[in-house]
């Protein structure tokens, strides 16, 4: 141990006692107190905080649900109904948990849209993006496992369809599926292990979120103009400015989720899941949760079992390499006149895929799914590298405070116009 280590001094002796033994006080002060946020960050930058709060809410409501839930095929459905009818505030716990999952995905999708549109995935935040995609994957796995637990018809058949995806793998597929299920079809062994994994994965997510936040704090947050912080003039401290802003966002979010929990708790639920699981009868339309529907649409758009499975997983895996497919040095789409429209097209396309993913795979819907599939992969493999190469980005602002000088308070300060700023030179010479 370094005897000459410089220990932070606080006024409070208790804090000093802790700090000397575990420098956690200075860590929190640095990362959540003095942490500089670009002052031009808009409300899109509140969704990371919202996602964290939602994760905690999901873990807490889940723990309390688990106290009354029975993971056995004969009792699971009834135990959920008991939670709804007999357990004190059980209905509230369950509606918070089921709608919280949907809102978690809404928030994370907006968070991803933010990262894509404003180029947050680019140098030097690539690892941060990779950790984020990893969190997204873990979330999808966790929500799928959780959807099985109420043991309704959609639970059972959703689990059947998704686990059968693994049987498409040549040679080892059938064996792998049986190993995952612990049986030859979805049964009690499956329900038991799905419950165990559904309980543990959120804590894994929590750990990766910790890395995700630590990684973004190394180089600081991106911002709508996609340029780096140059001086103290460009940033504000996280506390109190961003904390207060995030709190406002949280209030708005609280109103939105409460409206659904209290006035439309089953809006996003499938009616068939209120029928107990029956291994002998498949519901007429098996639909995934809406937040997984875009990927389900890709699966069904391919008329080949293995091909569909590969493209569906490929649609997620491709996200990992986005930082290397995009050749442009300009981060924010606000300064990318061509790519901006393809990017918005990507969001619309993703939404359309989700829409047809909830409908039967036939006729026009199937056609839309196929066109959407082409655009999805075309966006990553062709549009993103190609546009980055031919596009002439518009002029970046000199600095973050310069954006304010021009747009918001033209009379206060501001940099010289027409001179390339250090920010711009750095961005284009990476």
């Amino acid at each position: 141990m370094d005897k000459n280590r410089k220990v932070h001094q606080f006024k409070n002796p208790v804090l000093n006692w802790i700090e000397f033994r575990l420098p956690i006080i200075s860590y929190f002060k640095k990362e959540y107190g003095d942490y500089p946020m670009p002052k031009n960050c808009n409300y899109f930058w509140s969704f990371g905080a919202l996602a964290t709060i939602t994760l905690v809410t999901m873990i807490v409501s889940g723990i309390f649900l688990a106290m009354n839930y029975t993971p056995h095929t004969d009792m699971a459905f009834d135990s959920v109904e008991r939670i709804m009818r007999d357990v004190n505030y059980g209905w509230l716990m369950r509606y918070i948990h089921s709608n919280g999952a949907a809102f978690f995905f809404i928030i994370v999708y907006i968070h991803i849209v933010r990262a894509m549109y404003f180029g947050s995935y680019k140098y030097p935040r690539e690892l941060n993006w990779i950790l984020g995609v990893f969190i997204f994957l873990l979330m999808m796995a966790t929500s799928f496992l959780g959807y099985t637990l109420p043991w309704g018809q959609m639970s059972y058949w959703g689990a059947t369809v998704i686990t059968n995806l693994f049987s498409a793998i040549p040679f080892i597929g059938e064996g792998l599926k049986t190993w995952l299920l612990g049986d030859y079809n979805v049964g009690n062994a499956t329900l038991n292990r799905f419950f165990a994994l559904h309980y543990v994965l959120p804590f894994v997510i929590f750990g990766v979120v910790g890395l995700h936040v630590a990684a973004v704090h190394v180089h600081g947050s991106n911002n709508p103009d996609g340029i780096d912080i140059k001086t103290n003039n460009d940033s504000v401290n996280f506390f109190p400015y961003m904390l207060i802003k995030d709190t406002v966002a949280m209030c708005a979010f609280g109103v939105a989720i409460s409206a659904v929990i209290f006035f439309g708790p089953n809006l996003m639920a499938e009616v068939d899941n209120y029928i107990p699981a029956d291994p002998l009868v498949t519901p007429a339309h098996i639909v995934p949760n809406w937040y997984l529907a875009p990927f389900y649409a890709i699966l069904r758009a391919v008329p080949d079992k293995l091909g569909g499975v590969l493209l569906m997983f490929g649609a997620i895996v491709i996200l990992f390499v986005l930082p290397w497919l995009d050749r442009s040095k300009v981060r924010s789409c606000n300064y990318r006149p061509i790519y901006k429209w393809f990017m918005m097209g990507f969001f619309v396309n993703f939404f359309a895929l989700g829409y047809v993913g909830m409908l039967p795979a036939e006729g026009l819907y199937l056609l839309i799914a196929r066109v959407g599939l082409l655009y999805y992969f075309g966006f990553f493999f062709i549009i993103t590298p190609f546009v980055g190469w031919i596009e002439k980005p518009s002029k970046l602002p000199l600095s973050i405070s310069d954006v304010y000088a021009k747009n918001i308070a033209p009379n206060i300060g501001g940099g010289e116009k027409g001179i390339p700023s250090p920010a711009m030179q750095k961005d284009t010479n990476l």
Binding site: W157, N164, Y184, N185, P279, T282, H285, P303, A361
Partner: protein, 175 residues
């Protein structure tokens, strides 16, 4: 980089220690992985005897065997002829009707779509039976013929035929 001779012994010890550690770790993980495979009682899930005397021609019943639905259908003359007329070589999963039945009026199938595991429709008179008048899977649109063979849609294989024996004219033992 060339090592000095006196380091060779140390290198060997390091390498063998790490190797032994890796093998030990793998051996330790194996029971945990294996515990997720089907348990002995699951494997031992037995056989089922079914009385088929009450099944009329053209009728089909569904029974449960090892947690899966099994279709037992007494086929009509037309259905048998339709199944026999098909050239096996034209099929995605080539198989003659004769290889899929023991007695040609009795068709026994595992009622699980080979695509993603849904139960195909076609057991009830009112059900959709698909374009080949056998079974139709509503999940992703696979069509099966009167021999349970895949004819159209995403499923890669014919419906499985479970192991079964006729104990007598009125009883089938499945499994």
């Amino acid at each position: 980089m060339a090592k000095k001779p006196k380091n060779k012994r140390r290198d060997f010890l390091q390498l063998s220690t790490v190797t032994l550690g890796a093998v030990g770790t793998a051996a330790f993980i194996w029971p945990f992985l294996k515990s997720m495979s089907p348990a002995e009682d699951t494997l031992a899930a037995g056989s089922t005897e079914v009385d088929i005397s009450a099944i009329e021609e053209g009728q089909s019943i569904t029974i449960k065997w090892r947690g899966k639905p099994v279709f037992i259908k007494k086929r009509t003359k037309e259905e048998i002829d339709a199944a026999k007329m098909v050239q096996a070589s034209d099929l995605r999963d080539p198989q003659d009707d004769a290889d899929r039945v023991q007695k040609e009026e009795w068709l026994v199938l595992v009622g699980v779509c080979t695509h993603l595991g849904c139960v195909p429709l076609g057991q009830k008179v009112s059900d959709m039976k698909g374009e080949y008048d056998g079974w139709y899977c509503p999940c992703h649109g696979s069509h099966y013929d009167t021999s349970g063979r895949i004819r159209k849609g995403p499923a890669p294989k014919n419906l499985d035929v479970p192991p079964y024996t006729f104990l007598n004219d009125n009883t089938i033992k499945i499994g």
